[in-house]
Each structure stands twice: as structure tokens, then as C-alpha cells.
Symmetry: C2
Subunit: 507 residues, 2 copies
């Protein structure tokens, strides 16, 4: 393929993407395919001869698109948002055109330096403590990781190595493996699976401490665990707190956790993958409480700031603690300016050696939207969640199970879990909207998250109508079946918890 | 930014990329900027209000492009190639437009299934043993990792967990931390830095065994190390062999290593990041020897197969060993079809939870080039390296220090390291071509790698002329300086190793 053909194919792809995103509401959010659908349609071998791009683009529409779950659809309400934006997509075009691998400054000075710039921009926009800025004196700064999982793993591994060094200095009589065998870390039982996974990968147990009834982890629980473990001869290493848990978007109490961590020289990392964007909003200023005392934090730009996945911002109070832990250098990686300047060699701040030019999409997105555009986007998500919450509250068949937090509303059909479970199954079969379930203390609930690039109030109304009419029809069917089976009395009892009557069911 | 503006901006970006790549020879391969060049030019804060895309694109040309090291330039000869291609860039456009996160099948069936398809296509193209195919019976298969570093880390961590489980079964009297303290891994002292880093991250020492004089690691060295370590009570876990070391593209002896690994139940991973592509070429069939006996291997598609970084193919003989080691699940990640089918949930095959739709760029690239196009691209790189090697050999001032391997020629100016070192410094200052140095047993040499999307014989001639004329002028200057300082006799002695005479220097 020559440049001329690329201009055609590339522009056709831009139009394809624009058409796709403009008309995304026309698709059911979930695809109607069964496992293996694509395997059956594609050849078993790579073609020997080149194929024409028009044919390939046709196939993308014919076989790929039907197997896409439409994350950019406003009818996506599962997990947390992964929002792309037009400027961010252009950032990906340019970054893939330059095709650089920015593992050190010399590998493309613009790649490293633009990352320094946008990470400082973002830290200021989020009103983070100044010691996280590259431009401040001191060893702090921000870096773009591929995902929250990687950011958490970097913190866990660096904390582990720091603890081992500290212990070896204090207790030279102990072997390294004795020390490693005593390391212990902490998080909440509400934290994301990637935190438990980080513990597995780091070969360091991460105890999942019980969050309170409000699903918040507090210093008291950490204190108790640390004191018990220290008494048993263990060495506490790191606590990974969460601002915006995956289940209910609960906020751990960073203030009280940091007090305990400081007392015990325990690294405090904050996983703010979802909620981090809200640091920028004055009305969410409470969320920032205690951040001046944490060692590191991460925040996903695709969740709230319209930068394409992958892009996970991470800040370190003292980046040297990571660099010291990870640095393994070779002669072919050395360059003239190394270590002479304030410019970081980000390869030492991360797991892999190679790194894409991710800062470009961040820069283009931030400039295209401006700070006001980013704040407006987040506020829109929040307002739409309030709209949904009010709809739930106004329908006596449903209940909200946790306070709405940012763009997430956790709710369920009143009564047995079975009703909520069947409702979700029905919604998944209809594929009009996509939510996932969660559970707390035996109670099953649904997570309604505002997602998509450009959701509108009418989309929320669409989702709500889908949910409540499906509950109505579900219950009506059950009533009919029960009548047939002569089990009316039992069902009436079952439905009473839903405040349903035959009358409501006729609606 | 609305869809209309995106169509304009996106198409302008496509044209920008096409112009950039078509005219890439006009740039010096290395940028003429000093550390901090960009920090000084950009504002300290994100703009409050949106900015126009034309302004942003102008800035990209004005401030970003001057700080780019041109990896796609045919005058790039450093590290190993990172080749983009036009179809692969289009793959990135489409993948960023869909904006999905494919951590499980339901998150976009096409994402998971297309990865199964292209990994099998690639395995067949590379003539890998059939147990690495998804379509074969059994637990083997391929997965796309972000980078070779991640692939190696996955292998190291999975091997570590498997070894711990096995030991705990055999020796229930030992504690887990006792076992972990005895784990030991192996690689060659020629292996990439990411392998040593994987050991650091995994908290498991990786011994870098001495390669032979030909820089090849063989079974005998591994056998000796393992036997010594086992006698000392250690537990050998994994050997990471390399096909195509970073320094000289040496090939470890997989056959003899696998015999030793099998005897000791040691996981054998092959890092074929660069050389892996050549498995596809009949004339390189020797490279595949022993691959039927390895547990896992990785190969970077950006190095030889024109797929944009990031895309590192990894195959596992038994994927369950990774899944068992890494699986930490949550209710919100569960879906209906899970575990019911042959379709993998790739989140359990990798470090992070999230994953981009990378298979799309692979598929589009493979179809656009066809198997014949991919083979032709690799053969072109090899032929150009042969051209360069012949030029080196024909000039008596230079010597080739290791056999040319694929697209890499290792060479030096004869005589003291100082000449080669100064030559490189001079070439770096002139910025016309970019190479990096390496060292073996005190001998400094330069690595000339054929890189870039579309290198031609004239580019090789350009590089050679630059190198040899710079040596000529370097020596001429030294001669002049020496004459001035009256140190002629000393210099003549110094230059004698270069077979230089005053006469040659006048050329």
C-alpha cells in the first residue's frame, strides 16, 4: 500500500468512525452473536497475496462490527465509562503515524517532554498537591501508565522493594527471603480485582480488609490489621485505598488511612481510577481530602476525561523509589543527556521498556476541549446520574441501595434477589442497554453508570423506560404463569415486597 | 468538536501522516533540540477555553515534530526496527474509533475472536508447532501482549507460581516463603534488560549465565548452573533464552537448553522479539530448531511485520498455567458464556485487566500485505544488511565483529575503542544517521540495523558514505591536531591499527 492508497483508506476510515459514532444509537448496545461467530466466518490462514483495502473495510462492517459491544453508546451502562473523543482519536492517528517508541529522552524528546507537560497540566487541573508536579523542586512527578492495573502494580512492587531495603538495613541479621516472607499489604474488600492480582504477581499477600457498612475502608480497620500483623512478626508494606470502588463508587477515608500509614511507614497508594477526574470540580473538593499525605495515586483518563484507553495517569511523591527499584540498564540504552537534567527517563517508571507516544492524544484532547469542556463533560455525567436516580426513587417498585456517586447509581427491584437477577437477564437478552450486577452482603443490585461519548437526558429516559417496562412485563408473565399453575397466593406474597398489584401490572 | 470537524481534522491528520512518511528522508533522523526544549515553549497550564484544531495541528508541526526521533526513517539504524505501515495505522484509527476495552468475550466478541484468528494465522505463517494453535486440541494458544517485557514477565511469573505449587505438593513440610526464597531463574548475559527486570519485579533472582565466545547460551552452561544451584538447595524455575539478542542478534541453542530444562522441570521461554519473524522464511528454518520443546515464546510484530507498536505476540504451550496463576475474578466481570467455550478470556493471560482491540491492526496489515508481502519485507531488510556488510568488509579500516544476523551488522573501526567511540559521537552530532553502540569483552562496536518502513539500497549507501567519510575526516583532524602538538609519531602508531596512512586521509 502506497501513500496515495493510504490517504484514501485512512480518510475512508475517518468517515467510517464518524458515521459509526454519529449513528451509534442505531445499534443495540450488545451484539447478537454467539461464541465462535467470527471463527466460523474467517479463513484459517493468512491470505498469500495482498487484498484490496475496500474489501477489508467492507469486511469490517460485515463481520467485525456485528461483534462489537458499543462502549461509546449512551446505552452502555456497564463497568465504568470508557469514553473516546474525536480529538483523542486524531491523537492516535498522529501518534501511530510518527510510530516512535519513547523509552528514553533521546528516543523522541517530544514524547518525554510532552508527557511532563500534560501530567503537570492535569495535576493542576485536578488540584493535586504541588509535590506531584514535575515543575516543583523534589523527586515527585506524573507518568502515563497503560492501565490502572499497571499503576497499582508499579506502586505495589516499588513499595515492596523499599520495604525490603529498609528492613535489611535495620535487621542485617535477617536474610532477604526471611524478610520477603513476612511482607504483607492491605486493601479493602471493595477494591478492584487488579489490586488482589497485583498481590499475586508481587508474591506478597494483600489482605482485603472489611469495609464498613457504608463500604468505606477507614483507618481503624487498617490499624487493627497492622497491629495484629506486626505483633505476629509481619512487615506491613503498602495500603491500596480506593476513591470510587468498582461496586458502588465508595470513597475510602484517606485521612484516617494516611495517619495509620505514616505511623507504620506504610506506603499509601490511592486508586482513583474512576473518581479522580472529580478532583477538578469544586463541588467534589471533599474527595481530595488527605491526598497531600499519600505516596502515589492513579486515575484513568478514559473514564472521565475523554482520552482514549489506554491512558492511566499516575503520580508519585518520590519517583526515585520506583526508579531505584526497577532500574536495570544496558549500554545500548545510554544516551548523552542521561541523568544530567530534570527530564525523566520514563522507562524506569514503568513495567515495560517500550512506550507509545500517549501524551499526544492527551494534549490534543485537553486543548480541544479546554478545562471548561472537561469539567462540563464530567458534570453532564453527574447530572444524568441524578436524573436516573430520581426516576428510580419515584418508582416504588425499586430501591437505591447506595448513595449515588458521580455517574453511578446502584439500585435493585425490591424484594428477592431473584427478581433483580431475572430483570437483568431479560435486559441482557433484549440488548438495548447493558448493565452489570454487583452484590453486597447477599443483596444483589444493578449498577447503572452513565457512559458514552455524548449521553443525553433522552438516553437516560430510554434506559429507564426499558428497565421499568421490562420489570412490568416480567412480573406480568410471572403472574400469568402462576395463575396457570394455581400458585397465585404464593406469588402475590412474593410480589408484595415489590408493591406490585394486578393493577400496576396492567400499565 | 463535532463529527463534521472530526472529519476535517481526522483527514488532515491522515494527510499529515502521509506527507510525513513520504518525505521522511528530508529530516535528520535525530532531532536538533536540547533537553527542556518543549517545556520552555508550552504554557504551564491547560487552556481554559477550547482551541481550534487547525491551531493544534500547526503546533504539532511547529513544536512536536522538531522533537521527534524519526523511527520510520531509513536512516534510523539504532536498537531494532519499529516499523509502522499504512494499513496498520488505519487499524489504529478504526480501533480507537470503536473505543472498546476487550477484557472478556462479552466486552466485544470480535476483539477476542479476531485475536484468536490472527494469532493462529501468525503461528501458521511462522510454522510454529501446532500445540501453540488455538484451533488445536489442548491448552495452548497465542495472545497479544503490549510488549516483549510484558510477555517475558508473564512467563516468569507463571513459571514462578507453578514451581511454588509443585514444591508445596512435594514438600508440604516447607513453608511457602521458604520455597520462594529458594527460587532461581536463568538467562544469558546477552539477554535484553527486560529479562533482568522481570526477575527484579518477580522478586526471583535471574542469573545471567556467560554466553560462549560466539555469544550463544548453550545447554552445558545451563546444566552446570542448575546442578550447582540444586546442590545448594535452590529450586530452578525458568530459563529465558533469546533468539536474536539485543547486542548482536545471537541465537541461543534452544535444542540443548530444552534438554536440560526437561530434565529439571524448568520452564523454557524463548524471547524471539526480533528474530521471530524469520521463522517464516525457509532460508532461516534452522532458527525454529527446538521450538517444539519450549513452553512459551514471544515475538514483536513491530520489529519485522509492519504492525505498529504496541503488539507483542506470545504463545503458550499450556495457557492454563498462566490462567491458574493470575485469575482473580469478581462478580461484575462474570458473563453468561464464560468457561463454556473454547474462546479464551484473555484478561487471565496478561498483567493488566484492560486491553485494546489490537488484533484489528494485525488483521488489516496481514490482509493488505499478504504472506508474500510480509516475507518480502523481511527479505528486503536482510538483503540490505548484506549490502551494508559487504561495504564494511570492502573497507580495510573497518571490521565486522559478529556474523551478520538478519538485518543487523555489528562492526567497528579497527584499533582502539576510542576511534569507534569518537566516530559514533561525531555521527550523533551530525544527526544524519542513528546507531547505538554495544560492547563485548571490552571491545566497543556499533550496531547497524536496517530499520524504517521502506528502506532502499540508496539509503544503505547513504549511511555507509556518512560513516566512512566521517571516519576519514575524524582521522584527518586528529592528524592535524597531532601534528600541531608534535605528537605525530604517537598518532601514527595509534592509526596503524586502522591501516590508515596520510594518503588515505587525503581522500
Amino acid at each position: 500500500m502506497d501513500a496515495k492508497e493510504f490517504r484514501e483508506f485512512g480518510k475512508a476510515a475517518v468517515d467510517y468512525v464518524a458515521d459509526y459514532l454519529e449513528n451509534i444509537r442505531e445499534n443495540d448496545v450488545l451484539p447478537s452473536v454467539d461464541p465462535g461467530y467470527l471463527l466460523q466466518q474467517l479463513p484459517k490462514q493468512m491470505p498469500e497475496a495482498p487484498e484490496a483495502w475496500r474489501e477489508i473495510l467492507t469486511d469490517i462492517d460485515r463481520v467485525i462490527r456485528p461483534g462489537i459491544t458499543h462502549w461509546q453508546s449512551p446505552n452502555m451502562h456497564a463497568y465504568y465509562p470508557t469514553c473516546v473523543s474525536y480529538p483523542s482519536i486524531v491523537g492516535e492517528i498522529l501518534s501511530s503515524g510518527f510510530g516512535i517508541v519513547g523509552f528514553s529522552w533521546i528516543c523522541s524528546p517530544a514524547c518525554t517532554e510532552l508527557e511532563v507537560v500534560v501530567m503537570d497540566w492535569l495535576a493542576k487541573f485536578l488540584k493535586l498537591p504541588s509535590h506531584f508536579l514535575h515543575e516543583s523542586e523534589g523527586p515527585g512527578g506524573g507518568v502515563i501508565q497503560g492501565s490502572a492495573s499497571e499503576a497499582v502494580l508499579v506502586a505495589v512492587l516499588a513499595a515492596r522493594e523499599q520495604a525490603v531495603r529498609r528492613e535489611r538495613e535495620c535487621h542485617p541479621e535477617q536474610s532477604e527471603s526471611e524478610i520477603r516472607g513476612k511482607l504483607i499489604a492491605y486493601s479493602s474488600d471493595q477494591s478492584n480485582s487488579c489490586i488482589e492480582k497485583a498481590g499475586v504477581l508481587a508474591a506478597m499477600p494483600i489482605k482485603l480488609l472489611p469495609a464498613g457498612d457504608d463500604l468505606v475502608l477507614r483507618g481503624a480497620a487498617l490499624k487493627e490489621a497492622i497491629e495484629r500483623d506486626v505483633a505476629a512478626g509481619l512487615i506491613p508494606v503498602i495500603c491500596v485505598a480506593t476513591l470510587g470502588t468498582t461496586g458502588t463508587c465508595a470513597y475510602d477515608d484517606i485521612e484516617s488511612l494516611s495517619s495509620i500509614c505514616e505511623q507504620h511507614q506504610v506506603w499509601l497508594h490511592v486508586d482513583a481510577a474512576y473518581a479522580g477526574g472529580a478532583f477538578a470540580l469544586d463541588e467534589c473538593a471533599e474527595l481530595r481530602r488527605g491526598l497531600d499525605r499519600v505516596d502515589s495515586l492513579n486515575f484513568n483518563l478514559h473514564k472521565f476525561m475523554l482520552v482514549n484507553f489506554d491512558c492511566s495517569a499516575m503520580w508519585l511523591r518520590d519517583a526515585n523509589k520506583v526508579i531505584d527499584s526497577f532500574n536495570v540498564d544496558r549500554i545500548y540504552l545510554k544516551h548523552k543527556h542521561e541523568g544530567q537534567t530534570q527530564i525523566p527517563d520514563f522507562r524506569h517508571w514503568q513495567i515495560p521498556l517500550g512506550r507509545r507516544f500517549r501524551a499526544l492524544k492527551v494534549w490534543i484532547t485537553f486543548r480541544t476541549l479546554g478545562a471548561e469542556g472537561l469539567r462540563a463533560h464530567m458534570r453532564k455525567h453527574i447530572d444524568l446520574a441524578i436524573q436516573f436516580e430520581n426516576l428510580v426513587k419515584a418508582d416504588e417498585r425499586f430501591e437505591v441501595v447506595a448513595p449515588r456517586a458521580l455517574g453511578l447509581v446502584c439500585f435493585r427491584a425490591k424484594g428477592d434477589n431473584e427478581v433483580t437477577s431475572q430483570l437483568l437477564q431479560r435486559l441482557m437478552e433484549r440488548k438495548k442497554i447493558y448493565m452489570v450486577k454487583a452484590e453486597h452482603r447477599g443483596q444483589l443490585f444493578l449498577r447503572f453508570v452513565v457512559c458514552g461519548m455524548d449521553p443525553k437526558p433522552s438516553d437516560i429516559q430510554f434506559a429507564w423506560t426499558e428497565i421499568e417496562t421490562q420489570l412490568t412485563s416480567l412480573c406480568a408473565e410471572q403472574l400469568v404463569n402462576a395463575r396457570k399453575a394455581g400458585e397465585l397466593s404464593e406469588l402475590t406474597h412474593h410480589l408484595s415486597g415489590l408493591h406490585l398489584t394486578n393493577e400496576t401490572l396492567q400499565r
